[in-house]
C-alpha cells in the first residue's frame, strides 16, 4: 500500500494543511497523531541519514517533534508544513551529528568529485573504434522473473546500497525516492541548491543501480 493510500486524509494541499495546523493549535490530539503517523517514518529515515545509530536517530526525531510543537504558534504557512517540519528535523540532525562521536563529520551538501556513474572500462576507447560506446550492453531487466525487481531480496539489496552511500547522497535519495518528496521540498528543507540536489540524486541513484546490477548479474 502506498503512503497516499494509507493516509488518504493527509495531503500537502495548502487548504488541508491550514486546517491541520488550526486543529493542532486548538489542541486536537487526533490531528497530531495523524501528523505523526504520516511524517515519523520519513523523519526517521532521514535522521538515520545524518546519525546512523537508530537509537540516536529516534531521539533526533523526538526532539524535532518538540521543536514542531514549540514553533507551531509561529508557523505562518509560507512554506508547506512538510518542508517546515523537515527543516526543523534537518537542523537538529546536523547539530546532533556534529556532536556525535563519529569517525567523520557529516559531509556537507557541497558537491565534490566522485566516481563516474558507470565504470569507464565498460566503454570502448579510441583505440577500439566507436569510442565511448558500450563494450557490452547492460542486461534487459524486463526479462527478469515477475516480481524480481520488487521482491524482498531486491529491496534488501537496494536498502543496503543506500546504507552505504555517502551521507549527503543517502539523505537526498531517501527524501526523494523513499519518502517521495519533491525536488523543491528537498532543496528548501536541506538548504541545498537545485543543481547540487540533482547531482547528489544522480550519484545516489547510479550507485544503487550498480548494486542491483551486481546482484542480478551474480
Amino acid at each position: 500500500m502506498t503512503r497516499a493510500q494509507a493516509h488518504p486524509h493527509v495531503g500537502s494541499t495548502a487548504s488541508h494543511e491550514a486546517e491541520l495546523v488550526a486543529r493542532l493549535r486548538a489542541g486536537d490530539e487526533q490531528a497530531f497523531e495523524t501528523l505523526v503517523d504520516e511524517y515519523y517514518p520519513m523523519m526517521l529515515s532521514v535522521a538515520r541519514g545524518y546519525v546512523r545509530s537508530r537509537a540516536v536517530a529516534e531521539e533526533v526525531v523526538q526532539e524535532a517533534w518538540l521543536g514542531v510543537l514549540k514553533g507551531l504558534d509561529r508557523f505562518e504557512g509560507r512554506s508547506s508544513l512538510k518542508t517546515w517540519i523537515m527543516r526543523i528535523l534537518a537542523n537538529i540532525a546536523i547539530s546532533r551529528g556534529t556532536r556525535e562521536a563519529r569517525s567523520q563529520p557529516f559531509s556537507s551538501f557541497a558537491v565534490h568529485d566522485d566516481e563516474p556513474a558507470v565504470d569507464t572500462d565498460r566503454f570502448r576507447d579510441s583505440s577500439d573504434g566507436f569510442p565511448g560506446h558500450w563494450r557490452a550492453y547492460p542486461r534487459d531487466w524486463g526479462t527478469l522473473p515477475d516480481g524480481a525487481l520488487l521482491g524482498k531480496e531486491t529491496l534488501g539489496v537496494a536498502m543496503q546500497a543506500i546504507e552505504e552511500l555517502p551521507d549527503s547522497q543517502r539523505v537526498v535519495i531517501t527524501m526523494r525516492d523513499v519518502a517521495g518528496c519533491e525536488a523543491a521540498e528537498v532543496c528548501e528543507a536541506l538548504d541545498v541548491s537545485e543543481g547540487n540536489q540533482r547531482v547528489l540524486l544522480h550519484r545516489a541513484r547510479s550507485k544503487v543501480r550498480a548494486a542491483l546490477e551486481r546482484h542480478f548479474d551474480g
Binding site: 489542541g27 515519523y40 510543537l69 540533482r198 544522480h202
Partner: protein, 83 residues
C-alpha cells in the same frame, strides 16, 4: 556537453540520464539525448535500468512509528497543550 553538439557518446548518456528523467535537461540536449537512445539499444537498456531502480527504491517501506515513541510524543503533545 559532448564530443560534438550533434551527437553524444554512451559514456556521456549515463551522466545525463538523471537530468533527462528529472526533465531538467535543456531542450536541445533532450533532442540529442533522444536521438542517441533511438539508435543505441545499450543506452535504452541503461535508462530502463535506472527507471526500475527508482521504482524499486520507491517500494522501500519505512518502519511504522514504534508504539513507545508514539506514546512519548502524545504525552509531549498533552504537556504542550497544557502550557
Amino acid at each position: 556537453m559532448a564530443e560534438s553538439a550533434d551527437h553524444i557518446t554512451c559514456m556521456e548518456v549515463v551522466e545525463l540520464v538523471n537530468d533527462y528523467l528529472e526533465r531538467t535537461l535543456p531542450p536541445d540536449e533532450v533532442t540529442v539525448f533522444e536521438q542517441h537512445l533511438n539508435f543505441c539499444d545499450g543506452c535504452d537498456l541503461y535508462v530502463e535500468q535506472l527507471k526500475r531502480t527508482v521504482e524499486t527504491v520507491g517500494e522501500i517501506r519505512e518502519d511504522d512509528v514504534p508504539a513507545e515513541a508514539k506514546e512519548r510524543l502524545l504525552s509531549a503533545f498533552r504537556d504542550w497543550k497544557r502550557s
